[in-house]
């Protein structure tokens, strides 16, 4: 019998991050594992109040239903900061992720060509295993 793990997956609303969430729900997940959908709240998001901290966004719930995922094992977690720092913190309390899943590109992906990608930086600095889901994933 395997021990239940916590899988964290980054979500910024982009299609790339939806692919990552699907992969986490369908491929990484084993019975009893929890999946924590992690969202980085930046300065502008604090200003505009884009996503609720307490309520899982409808889009994430739709993804869970499409993947036949038991919502009992799904958590929504918003942390203040840039995407890179927030994703790296998923390995520490309160999430303590055993595995981190990220899309290959986040918002601002044109800059990533020159200024380095979030996923690459996460991979380089993570203290837990990281899966990078390609943008053109079939999922």
């Amino acid at each position: 019998m395997s021990v239940a793990r916590t899988i964290a997956v980054g979500f910024d609303g982009s299609r790339e991050s939806e692919s990552a969430v699907r992969w986490a729900l369908l491929e990484a997940h084993q019975p009893h594992d929890d999946v924590v959908v992690v969202h980085a709240a930046g300065m502008l998001e604090h200003l505009h109040g884009a996503l609720s901290r307490d309520v899982t966004p409808p889009r994430v719930l739709v993804l869970a239903r499409e993947c036949n995922f038991n919502e009992m094992h799904l958590r929504w977690f918003v942390d203040d900061g840039d995407a890179c720092s927030v994703l790296l913190r998923a390995g520490a309390p309160p999430i303590n992720a055993d595995l981190l899943v990220v899309g290959s590109r986040g918002k601002g992906h044109r800059a990533e060509l020159l200024l380095g990608s979030t996923s690459l930086e996460v991979v380089q600095n993570a203290t837990m295993p990281v899966v990078v889901v390609p943008t053109h994933s079939s999922l």
Binding site: D12, M43, L47, D80, G108
Partner: protein, 348 residues
């Protein structure tokens, strides 16, 4: 005292329509300075662009190359908060140069207060990454240039956000003391009281996180109780202030409740931290409500110059006293733990 500010230059090319970090911010700051009617007591430091060598005191060379190339390629969104345009690279280098120029002008005398009117702001910029509206860390570049001259620099950051970039850059540098008051939780999610500096610089970082709704009395008392003794021990030869005005109660970016009168109090405090006259230079960081920015800067500079002016009364009565007590406890525990580790590492 005279006020030294950087020569005005055109920063309008660094703009993303609808973004709160906008050119009208520096116009508001300029008008606050003009309203002081200082006449010949207002001195202008000449325009200059920071050299690559100066930027390299803080930033990684490949980051500078990539940021420059990104801008010349037309720019765009760097992350969910931060943008750059074709002009941003030159404007950011001018902002860094402005700080260096103001400090050069101050060094030639001992009766000046410096204020650096620039954008984009800088305190979130890491050595190798832009974030939180910031491209180059202006205050860190100025501090590093002073350290190279043998100075001991206090960076006092009263912007409502934690200056994670400045903290990271000087984390292990005993010649720079970084002190920050900020709302927490809030972007960038760092700045906890237990963050006290690295191995070589234990107790050279002082973080004072405050809850939403905290007022000026709490913030000022926290600085006096937690930071002032550390600053006294450190004995800075220069005080650089990351002067953001987004802790003002009218600012839409956060929920602290400061008034312009509170910023006057903070300016007095910053001046008291300097061991010699003429060694306090302030750098514009955040501040997104233009009226609050103008009034707060006006009050700050009037106080720093020793002039009297009418401002909003100081705020008081907000939450935060318990958090400050807890912060003091967390700081002591973190410092103790580092000292114990240090001792055990050095044991044979």
């Amino acid at each position: 005292m005279v006020l030294i500010v950087n020569e005005n230059y055109d920063d309008a090319g660094h703009e993303d329509p609808g973004h709160p970090e906008r050119p009208s911010r520096t116009n508001a700051a300029r008008s606050a300075i003009a309203d002081l009617h200082l006449g010949s007591d207002l001195v202008t430091a000449p325009f200059r662009v920071a050299s690559r060598a100066e930027l390299l005191l803080v930033h990684h060379g490949n980051y500078l190359d990539e940021l420059g190339a990104f801008c010349y390629d037309g720019g765009g969104d760097i992350d969910q908060d931060t943008y750059a345009t074709y002009d941003s690279w030159e404007i950011a280098k001018s902002a860094a140069g402005a700080g260096l120029s103001v400090i050069d002008a101050m060094r030639a005398r001992d009766d000046a207060v410096g204020f650096v009117v620039t954008r984009p702001p800088g305190h979130h910029a890491l050595a190798d990454r832009a974030m939180g509206f910031c491209l180059l860390n202006n205050v860190a570049i100025a501090a590093a240039a002073l350290v190279r001259r043998g100075e001991r620099v206090l960076v006092l950051d009263w912007d409502v956000h934690h200056g994670n970039g400045t903290q990271q850059i000087f984390w292990n540098n005993p010649e720079v003391l970084y002190v920050s008051t900020h709302q927490s939780p809030l972007f960038p999610g760092s700045g906890f009281a237990g963050e006290v500096g690295g191995w070589n610089a234990i107790d050279r970082t002082v973080n004072i996180p405050l809850p939403s709704g905290a007022t000026g009395d709490i913030l000022q008392r926290a600085l006096e109780e937690l930071a002032a003794p550390v600053i006294e021990d450190f004995a800075p030869t220069w005080v650089l202030v990351s002067a953001g005005f987004d802790a003002h109660r009218a600012d839409p970016m956060a929920e602290l409740q400061l008034t312009s009168g509170d910023f006057a109090g903070l300016a007095h405090l910053a001046t008291s931290f300097a061991h010699q006259p003429g060694r306090v230079a302030m750098f514009l960081e955040g501040g997104y409500d233009l009226d609050a920015l103008r009034d707060s800067l006006h009050a700050t500079l009037a106080a720093a110059l020793g002039a009297t002016t009418s401002t909003e009364s100081r705020s008081n009565g907000g939450p935060g006293a318990e958090e400050v007590t807890r912060a003091a406890r967390e700081r002591r525990a973190a410092i103790e733990a580092l000292h114990i580790l240090e001792t055990s590492e050095r044991a044979p």
